[in-house]
C-alpha cells in the first residue's frame, strides 16, 4: 500500500487537472454513449493501455534525463520478433515461452545500451541517436522477418494480453500496474532517480557533483529499452504475431502522453503519477473517438494538435513572465 499512500499525499495541481479531465470524459461519454462504460469497451481499453503506456514511461525516462527516445517503437517490434522467433524455434513449451520473453528483454537491454553508448560516450545528440536507432532496429527486424509478420505464436503466450482475470482485467494490465509501482519507487526513492533528475536539469552541474554522467545515461536508456521490449512482448501477445512496423503511430502518442503528463521536453522535470494519469486521459479520448466512429486520420490530426496546444498552454505563462522581467 506504500506507493498508493505516497501517490495520494503528493497529488499536485497538474495531476488534479488530468484527473478532472478523465472524470469529465467518463461522465460525458457515459451519458451519451452508455456503451462506453460497457465491459467490452473497458476490456479493450485495458488491453491497449499497457502497450503504449509502458512505451510512454520509456519516453518519460529519456526525457527526464535530458534526451528523447524515438527508437522505442523500433525496440518494441524487434523484441516482439525476437520473442516470436525463439518461441517458434523451441516450440510452445513453457520453457520456450520463458526463454522467448527473456530473449526479448535482453534485446531491449542491448538496444538501450546501443543508444546509451552512442549518446553518452560518442556524444551524438539524443534525437539523432534514437532516430538512427529506430532505423537500425527496424532494419534488424526486417532482416529477421524479410517483411511479413511472424504468426502462429503459442496459445499460452497470446493469453498474456488476451485472457482475462475474473472476466474483465487482462493480465497485461497487471504488468502495467507492476511497472508503475516499480518506476515510482525508482524515480522517487532511489539514488538513481535523484541522479537522473539532476542530470536532466543541468548536466554540467551534475558532473561536478560527482555523478557519473556516462553510467547514468547508459542506465537510463537501458531502462527505457527494457520498457520498450516489455511493450513489444505485450503487443506480440495481443496481436498473436510480430512484425517490423506495428504501432508506428505510437511515437507521437508517447511523446504527447509524456508532455501532457508534465514531463519537461528540456529535461529534469516530470513525475510518474503525472504520466500515469496522462495515459488514462489519452486512452479515454482514444476510446471515445472509436465509439463515436471518428476516422483514424482525424485521430492523428488531433494528437498533433493537442501536443502543440498543450505545449503552448504550458509555455505562454513562462513567456509572459520572462517579458515582464525585461
Amino acid at each position: 500500500m506504500a506507493p498508493k499512500k505516497s501517490l495520494v499525499k503528493s497529488i499536485d495541481k497538474h495531476t488534479l487537472i488530468l484527473l478532472g479531465l478523465s472524470v469529465l470524459i467518463v461522465i460525458t461519454m457515459g451519458v451519451h454513449r452508455p456503451k462506453f462504460l460497457g465491459s467490452a469497451n473497458l476490456q479493450s481499453m485495458l488491453v491497449q493501455l499497457p502497450e503504449y503506456g509502458i512505451l510512454a514511461f520509456g519516453m518519460m525516462i529519456a526525457m527526464i534525463s535530458g534526451g528523447i527516445d524515438l527508437s522505442l517503437v523500433g525496440i518494441a517490434n524487434l523484441s516482439g520478433i525476437i520473442a516470436a522467433v525463439v518461441m517458434l524455434g523451441l516450440g510452445g513449451t513453457p520453457f520456450g515461452i520463458t526463454l522467448g520473453v527473456l530473449g526479448a528483454l535482453s534485446g531491449g537491454v542491448l538496444c538501450g545500451a546501443f543508444n546509451g553508448v552512442l549518446l553518452g560516450y560518442v556524444k551524438i545528440p539524443a534525437m539523432l541517436v534514437t532516430l538512427s536507432g529506430l532505423q537500425v532496429f527496424s532494419g534488424l527486424s526486417l532482416i529477421i522477418t524479410k517483411g511479413p509478420a511472424i504468426t502462429g505464436l503459442p496459445e499460452a503466450f497470446s493469453k498474456i494480453a488476451n485472457a482475462t482475470f475474473v472476466g474483465v482485467i487482462p493480465y497485461s494490465a497487471f504488468v502495467f500496474v507492476l511497472i508503475v509501482i516499480v518506476l515510482s519507487y525508482l524515480m522517487n526513492q532511489t539514488v538513481f532517480g535523484r541522479k537522473l533528475y539532476l542530470m536532466g536539469t543541468n548536466r554540467v552541474a551534475a558532473s561536478f557533483t560527482g555523478i557519473n554522467i556516462l553510467k547514468t545515461t547508459i542506465t537510463a536508456y537501458i531502462l527505457s529499452g527494457i520498457l520498450g521490449s516489455t511493450a513489444g512482448i505485450l503487443m506480440a501477445s495481443h496481436y498473436n504475431s510480430a512484425k517490423s512496423d506495428y504501432g508506428s503511430s505510437y511515437t507521437l502518442l508517447t511523446l504527447l502522453i509524456a508532455v501532457l503528463g508534465g514531463v519537461d521536453p528540456n529535461g529534469g522535470d516530470g513525475k510518474v503519477q503525472g504520466v500515469f494519469f496522462s495515459i488514462i486521459v489519452l486512452q479515454l479520448v482514444s476510446s471515445a473517438f472509436n465509439i463515436l466512429r471518428i476516422n483514424a486520420f482525424i485521430k492523428t490530426f488531433a494528437w498533433g494538435l493537442i501536443l502543440i496546444l498543450v505545449l503552448t498552454a504550458i509555455n505562454i505563462p513562462k513567456i509572459i513572465r520572462e517579458q515582464k522581467k525585461g
Binding site: 552512442l118 534525437m127 532505423q135 486520420f297 490530426f301 505545449l311
Partner: protein, 332 residues
C-alpha cells in the same frame, strides 16, 4: 600552404568523396556496365528531389534546429495543389509551383512561430506539425492517389537537356527538372557564404547568445530560415509530383530519415553552426549510390533499412568524435 592542402584532403567533404569513389570502384568491379553515362543519369534522377529536401533540411540544421515535418507538408502540398488545379482547370507549371511555394512557406512560418515565439523544442514542434498535417491531409483532403495530372504538368518531365543511348539501344534522357536543384544549390550556397542572413544562420546555430550579442536578430533569422525551408519543401513536393507524374497523400512519409541522414553524412553538424551545400550534395549522392546499387552488391533489399541506419550511425560518429577531439584540443 602544405597544411592547408592537408586540411582539405582530410575534410569531411573529402572523406565522403573517397567513400563514393571506393564504392563506385567496388560496384564497377562487380558489374562493369556500372561505369557508363546511364548510371550518372539514373543517379541524378534519384538525387533530384532528395537534394531539394536536403537543402531545406540543411539550412534548418545549420541554424540549430531540425525539421521532421517536411514529408507531411510536402504530401499536403501535392494533394492540395492537384485538387486546386483539377477544380479550377488551370494548367500552368509556374502557377503550380507558386501554390506549392505558398503552402510550404505557410507551414514554414507555423514551425517558426511555434519554435521562436512559443519556444517549443524544434523536434517536438515539427513532430506535432507533422502529425497534424498528415492527419489533416488524409482526413480532410482524402486518401485518393491522383495520376490524372493536367496535361502541361504531366508532360513537363519529358523536356530533357541531353540524352544517351547505350549500345543495347536503351535511351536514357536527363530531365530538365535537374536544373531546379542545381540552381537552388548555387543560390543557397551564395546565400550561406556571402549574405548577412546566411552568416546569421551559422551564427545562431553555433551559439545563440553570442549571435544575439553580436547583433543578429535571432527571431528574424529563424523565421527566414524556416520559411525558406518551407518554400524549398514546397518546391520539392511539386517537383516530385511532376517527375513521378503522381500526387500521393502518403508517399513521402518517412523520407525525413533519408534526408537527415544525407545532410549529416555531408558534414552538417546536427548541433548547428556547421554545414555546406557541397557536403550536402555529396551526402545525397552517397546515399543515392547505396540505394541504387545494394542489389548489384548482392545485398538483399530487406537489408536496406539496416544498412542506411548503420551508415548514419557511422557518419554521425565520425563527425561527433572529430568535434569531441577539437573541443578537447582547444585548451590554450
Amino acid at each position: 600552404m602544405n597544411a592547408k592542402i592537408k586540411q582539405k584532403l582530410l575534410s569531411n567533404e573529402a572523406i565522403v568523396v573517397y567513400i563514393i569513389l571506393l564504392l563506385a570502384l567496388i560496384i564497377g568491379a562487380v558489374n562493369p556496365t556500372f561505369i557508363s553515362p546511364a548510371t550518372g543519369i539514373n543517379l541524378l534522377r534519384t538525387m533530384l528531389v532528395t537534394l531539394i529536401f536536403a537543402l531545406s533540411e540543411m539550412i534548418v540544421i545549420v541554424s540549430g534546429g531540425i525539421d521532421v515535418s517536411f514529408p507531411a507538408v510536402s504530401c499536403l502540398t501535392m494533394i492540395a495543389t492537384i485538387k486546386f488545379l483539377l477544380a479550377t482547370g488551370i494548367d500552368s507549371v509556374p502557377i503550380t509551383y507558386g501554390i506549392g511555394i505558398l503552402i510550404g512557406a505557410t507551414f514554414g512560418a507555423l514551425n517558426a512561430f511555434l519554435i521562436t515565439i512559443i519556444k517549443i523544442p524544434p523536434l517536438i514542434a515539427t513532430l506535432g506539425v507533422s502529425s497534424l498535417t498528415s492527419g489533416a491531409t488524409l482526413a480532410f483532403l482524402g486518401t485518393k492517389i491522383y495520376t490524372d495530372l493536367p496535361e502541361k504538368i504531366d508532360t513537363m518531365h519529358r523536356i530533357s537537356i541531353f540524352s544517351y543511348t547505350n549500345p543495347a539501344g536503351n535511351e536514357y534522357s536527363m530531365t530538365a527538372l535537374i536544373l531546379i536543384p542545381a540552381i537552388l544549390c548555387v543560390l543557397i550556397h551564395l546565400m550561406l557564404r556571402h549574405t548577412m542572413i546566411g552568416r546569421g544562420m551559422y551564427a545562431i546555430g553555433g551559439d545563440i547568445q553570442a549571435a544575439h550579442v553580436v547583433g543578429f536578430n535571432v527571431a528574424k533569422t529563424r523565421f527566414f530560415t524556416y520559411i525558406l525551408s518551407g518554400i524549398l519543401a514546397g518546391t520539392g513536393a511539386i517537383t516530385y509530383m511532376i517527375l513521378m507524374r503522381v500526387a500521393d497523400p502518403k508517399v513521402l512519409m518517412g523520407e525525413e530519415m533519408m534526408v537527415i541522414a544525407a545532410v549529416v553524412i555531408g558534414g552538417t553538424r546536427i548541433t548547428g553552426g556547421h554545414g555546406t551545400v557541397i557536403g550536402t550534395i555529396l551526402g545525397v549522392a552517397l546515399l543515392a549510390l547505396v540505394k541504387n546499387n545494394l542489389i548489384i552488391l548482392g545485398v538483399p533489399t530487406h537489408f536496406q533499412t539496416f544498412v542506411v541506419g548503420m551508415i548514419i550511425v557511422f557518419g554521425t560518429s565520425i563527425t561527433s568524435i572529430r568535434a569531441k577531439r577539437i573541443a578537447e584540443q582547444a585548451k590554450i
